[in-house]
Subunit: 384 residues, 2 copies
Amino acid sequence: VPEKRYLFTPGPTPVPPKVLAALAEPVIHHRGPDFKIVYRRCLDRLHEVFRTEGDVLLYTASGTGAMESAVANLCSPGDRVLTVSAGYFGERFAKIGRAYGCAVEELRYEWGESPSADDLASRLDELGGAHAVLLTHSETSTGVVADVHALAAAAKEAGALVVVDAISSLGAVPLETDAWGIDVVASGSQKALMTPPGLAMASVSQAAWEASRRSSSPRMYFDWETTREAQSRLDAPFTPAVSLVVALDVALGILLEEGLEAAFARHVRLGRACREGAKAMGLELFSPDDDRSAVVTAIRAPEGVDADELVLALRDRFGVTLAPGQGVLKGRVFRIGHIGYYDVFDVTTALAAVELGLAEAGADIERGVAVTRALDAYEEAARV
Amino acid sequence: VPEKRYLFTPGPTPVPPKVLAALAEPVIHHRGPDFKIVYRRCLDRLHEVFRTEGDVLLYTASGTGAMESAVANLCSPGDRVLTVSAGYFGERFAKIGRAYGCAVEELRYEWGESPSADDLASRLDELGGAHAVLLTHSETSTGVVADVHALAAAAKEAGALVVVDAISSLGAVPLETDAWGIDVVASGSQKALMTPPGLAMASVSQAAWEASRRSSSPRMYFDWETTREAQSRLDAPFTPAVSLVVALDVALGILLEEGLEAAFARHVRLGRACREGAKAMGLELFSPDDDRSAVVTAIRAPEGVDADELVLALRDRFGVTLAPGQGVLKGRVFRIGHIGYYDVFDVTTALAAVELGLAEAGADIERGVAVTRALDAYEEAARV
């Protein structure tokens, strides 16, 4: 395996050198004045990124912890929740709901389909409403980014609480927590927030706070009020991953200096470059060929190639890590993440490696066109 | 505030440079071959440190998450659990038990007292047994290290499951998970394991597995079986804090190279040095003056000195961070942690700063003796 590695997975994502350097700083005490300065700034920056005036709670956990916190704080056994799922992560929400004894209803699509707000409205109508609707913003397993604005509106219309898994979308594609009336946005540090995994966040609306006071589900570590109360004193109820918080603060500074709108535009261009390059070499996209899906591109393995083997070969031969297919897509697709600390030369490197890997595997692809097409598409997109 | 900082808190603790350097390495994908090598070695090393042949489950969480996992996986609402508490962290266990609807009984001591196995046996006898006994090994708030060997034996004798919070003790003082029949040992990365906070571990005995299959408490993130199944494939159910795992692996390598017995002996000597130095300048210990309490030394603030103000002054004047008193001890004691990546010159630096800080605060202490007495005590201890 080559010494030099390239991380092109949709999470963890590449971490900027300044953020890595922050991780290597001597550890500071989480209750001392040094940490409080960083903690306050980090929480303020999270509010900006979440686009909310409400609370943003910070957990030491994988992003799934923030998803679970939503169910544990909002729901009691027997509460009807409706999950909208079209892939691996939508199904995870349903699993969490069932683990907490909720009456889980699923609006289920084939993996790779895009959920529709009309379907959601009809389903909620049939059900006579739901306590909460659990949505996946960016379905990392398929590359689909759902129209959460429209979906949230349909759920609100039916009187449901709206919970959004924005783990791979926050900071990459537009998400308006307050303006779209989303009650809980769950996210994680390791995607567009350009920090290693280990921190999870949950925004909590006023309506969500009210519901949480009625929830009988047991919880302590993920209890919202426990964390809110501590954060109000710039404290944490349990020793937080201080190094990751210090790193996240630096990363959020980089993101906000670029500007959220500029970051969103960059991700659109990266997505376009990746799709156009892949198509140019004759590959078939699995994820939708539209600008909404700007987070990860899922590509079908060509005839006679096992996607898992391709992923392993690229890593062994070139030090390039792509993501394999998950669940029903295992072996059938490979995925190129283009999230966070990422520019067009990351796209071209990923495509160049795929081109060479597929050629070595004997696949029938067009050589010598993908990289240039990707560069062109990136530039064209900037002019639109 | 001086640029150079000294971290002498009982968690987070100082992190060795090699471990900090590992944190700054580019992030790797948690499902790729690079990570699996590290992950396997790290899990193997955890088994050595826990001294168990059973499962050790690794969570991205504060140590409290591992404590909660024990209650969530072992207990159903109404189950009687007995917590033995003599400080802040023992009380946390009771809180978790209540959050999960357990019938929590408390064997409660004054903060700073050492729990006794006879008391535990009598209490269990009175109660007619308990489903689980929740113990704190090192009560970081008071400096007391409980005789978990004897306490666990009393609990087993009464047929209870034994759960031990070993967050600040594991790797610093002897703990024999299997030999002492402990069903669950909960720990964290940020104490004697010399890694920043953010990883929690729980060992699970055969009896604990059996009990977990009968527990009706809802859980997903902290569900043991979910993590065990993934770990058996060298996978993690949710994106783990890869950087912290890489760092923990390096830190465990350092600890095991020193050897656990040598590390335990070093902590005993550090504790003796700290206590002897503090007493030499005329200070009164709050934590017991015995070799068992080798993790953190709690010292009473002298007449007329507020311990919280002393802690802040030492940080502002000298960049030295000690820990203030918690709960009922707030303002009354300060605490010097001597855990993990720590040698006798850390003790003498802490004592020198305390000496100067107290002198500046006008306290009536003996100058010029603490450091030398600490050095002597450290050497004498080695000869015993």
